[in-house]
């Protein structure tokens, strides 16, 4: 009897998964990512906090509620139009906290650096992270650095974790959408993913496509000041607007109806999507949010958003329905009804 067999009683059987190796699509934010999370991670780590699968964990500490989140960044290229991996790591984690209704306070930052990475590039990334944390009103309070051999990582990977406090009376979560809620989107979609793709493939358009990367905390605090009836907030990053809406439809067990002609998209981004054969609904954003709001409050929240630089093009893109639970249907520009499914496979790897 070998050592392994001795310990078999203590080892959980490996869950049945369709692939015996990790594929890029396991990181795509779509169906395979969800399978991996459910079958491998939740099956072992699951608890009442984690199982909510919110952008941040919500922790009750005495009378306060803390939001806690973590995210790793592997974007390629490291510098892209509209930002770099460092700013992305700061804003991405801020936004995950904000999507739980929290005010972000503290971040940790860990670097995995590839041997040979230029100090000058690292400096530029770190300076922009400092500026980003000031703009996002958070402090970077702890960190770590590891270096791996040349070829064992790709230039630089960054992990950030964040902590924030959820104000009293705020109750935001992906399971809270209610029939009748109106869905607000704060601006044009698909800019981050297309900016990364254009940079990576060296494709230029008449006007450069720039990532929408931005911290959403000041916009959200405006919205929360205006209404206590915001039920769900989510930033449609990997997998795009389509995957985010599907997650909410599933977690809240409701139907979602959106209108194609209400979804803002820039002409050059739309053109790029046509050229690449990509559907903008599935392309990542880094400065966008969807908010599910009680219809009575939607108009006044929208007015507040229009006054903010990140919400000038905010619009109501759809509503929550009782029928067709767990399904997203889009009224197309030609008036027909299209089912919008969750992303499957990997549209664009390593966009964040």
């Amino acid at each position: 009897m070998n050592a392994n067999e001795n310990y078999q009683g203590a080892v959980c059987p490996i869950p049945k998964i369709e692939y015996d190796k990790i594929l890029m699509a396991h990181g795509g934010g779509g169906t395979l990512t969800h399978q991996l999370i459910k079958k491998i991670f939740i099956s072992q780590f699951g608890n009442e906090v984690l199982n909510v699968l919110h952008d941040s964990a919500i922790l009750k500490v005495e009378s306060k509620r803390l939001a806690f989140t973590t995210d790793s960044y592997v974007v390629n290229p490291v510098f892209f139009p509209g930002g770099n991996i460092g700013e992305l790591a700061v804003y991405g984690t801020i936004n995950d906290l904000v999507m739980a209704g929290a005010e972000p306070l503290f971040l940790s930052v860990s670097f995995i650096l590839e041997e040979g990475f230029l100090i000058e590039d690292l400096w530029q990334i770190v300076v922009s992270m400092k500026n980003a944390s000031q703009k996002g009103n958070v402090k970077i309070v702890t960190g770590d650095t590891k270096v791996v051999d040349n070829g064992k990582a790709d230039k630089i990977f960054i992990n950030t974790s964040g902590i924030g406090i959820i104000p009293e009376g705020v109750d935001i979560g992906p399971q809270n959408a209610k029939p009748g809620d109106l869905i607000i989107l704060n601006g044009r979609i698909a800019e981050h993913g297309i900016a990364i793709l254009s940079a990576r493939e060296g494709i230029e358009f008449e006007s450069e496509i720039i990532s929408d990367l931005a911290p959403l905390n000041s916009l959200v605090s405006l919205m929360l000041n205006e209404s206590k009836n915001i039920h769900v907030l989510r930033d449609p990053t990997r997998g795009g607007l389509a995957s985010t809406l599907n997650e909410i439809a599933a977690q809240s067990n409701i139907g979602i109806r959106i209108y194609e002609d209400k979804i803002p998209i820039a002409g050059n981004v739309k053109a790029a999507c046509e050229i690449f054969g990509l559907d903008p609904l599935y392309i990542a954003n880094e400065g966008k949010l969807v908010a599910f709001i009680d219809p009575a409050d939607a108009e006044k929240v929208l007015n507040q958003m229009h006054a903010h630089e990140l919400g000038m093009e905010a619009s109501i893109i759809g509503e929550v329905t009782k029928n067709n639970p767990k399904t997203v249907v889009m009224k197309t520009a030609i008036g027909t009804n299209r089912i919008i499914d969750m992303i499957s496979g990997e549209q664009l790897p390593r966009i964040c």
Partner: protein, 360 residues
Amino acid sequence: MKYVDEYRDAESVRLLSEKINSIITRNWNVMEICGGQTHTILKYRIEELLPPQITLIHGPGCPVCVTPIEMIDKAILLALRPDIILVSYGDMLRVPGSNSDLLEAKSKGGNVKMIYSPLDAIKIAEQNPDKKIVFFAVGFETTAPANAFTIFEAERRGLKNYFMLCSHVLVPPAIEILLKSEKNSINGILTAGHVCTVMGYEEYIPLAEKYKTPMVVTGFEPVDILSGLLMVIYQLENGNCFVENQYGRAVRKEGNIHSKKIISDVFEITDRKWRGIGLIPQSGLKIKSKYSHYDAEIVFNIDTTGFDESDICIAGEILQGLKKPGDCPAFRKECTPEIPLGAPMVSAEGACSAYYRYTK
């Protein structure tokens, strides 16, 4: 956006739909050849706008779907060789071969790179002089000129490490096989606009006459599809069977002369097996013998005996328009885009993937 928005215009769509509804008196089966058209039809739910007398039959026009399984097995074997970088369009990566697919080969350490333009294959060859670059060239007439052009470029740049695994197919011979079949129920055809952009539509004229089947060269936007259908239905209702061009903004009768010349310089016509359909005489392109030193099948000795199709998948009948994806017992059950049993579930032009994505 110009050339797109006006072809997705709600008012034009409404008028065309009304017109089709007003002229139709009988039941007609219309096949759209190209998978790109199938996706537009499903994505925009065009059938909601059509009278019940029209049945749309989805055609074989998905090059990824009809690429024979032994070619995919060959690509996988090549990708697993340490001296080779296999480059391919993204859609091919998840198409099942006998036991595996290219993405799995990649996760096992095979060097597989996805490209958007065939010239990227040349660039990769230049950047990796110590590796052999094999470009998996699949497609219809549409992509043949650009793929052929890589051989010119490799020659011009003196590249000794560039090779092509060629599995090109031609549309008209496949249309003829379908129309000749005893099971044929097709009354009219929307031919593939992009194929005709390259080749023109002279080849379709004798086919339309011989099989008494009207054919309309059709584009890919909702207004294109509805205009194409209106033209076909109008011919059918009036007993006509000629070739018309709906896609005039891209297609000329004689096609693109320059592109056709590149194709005929590099490739020659050959018999080709179509996955799910079988051998179709004179339906493929292969690399001419004067360029055989670029032909991966000749340069690398690849043995793929014993290839194996899934016995549940009905891709063949779907590709011939005999069945729809919903008729397959595995659809949405054993077969999903994550674990596809057949190529039509993978490709951006496959009928099964269109039904999976746009219906429920």
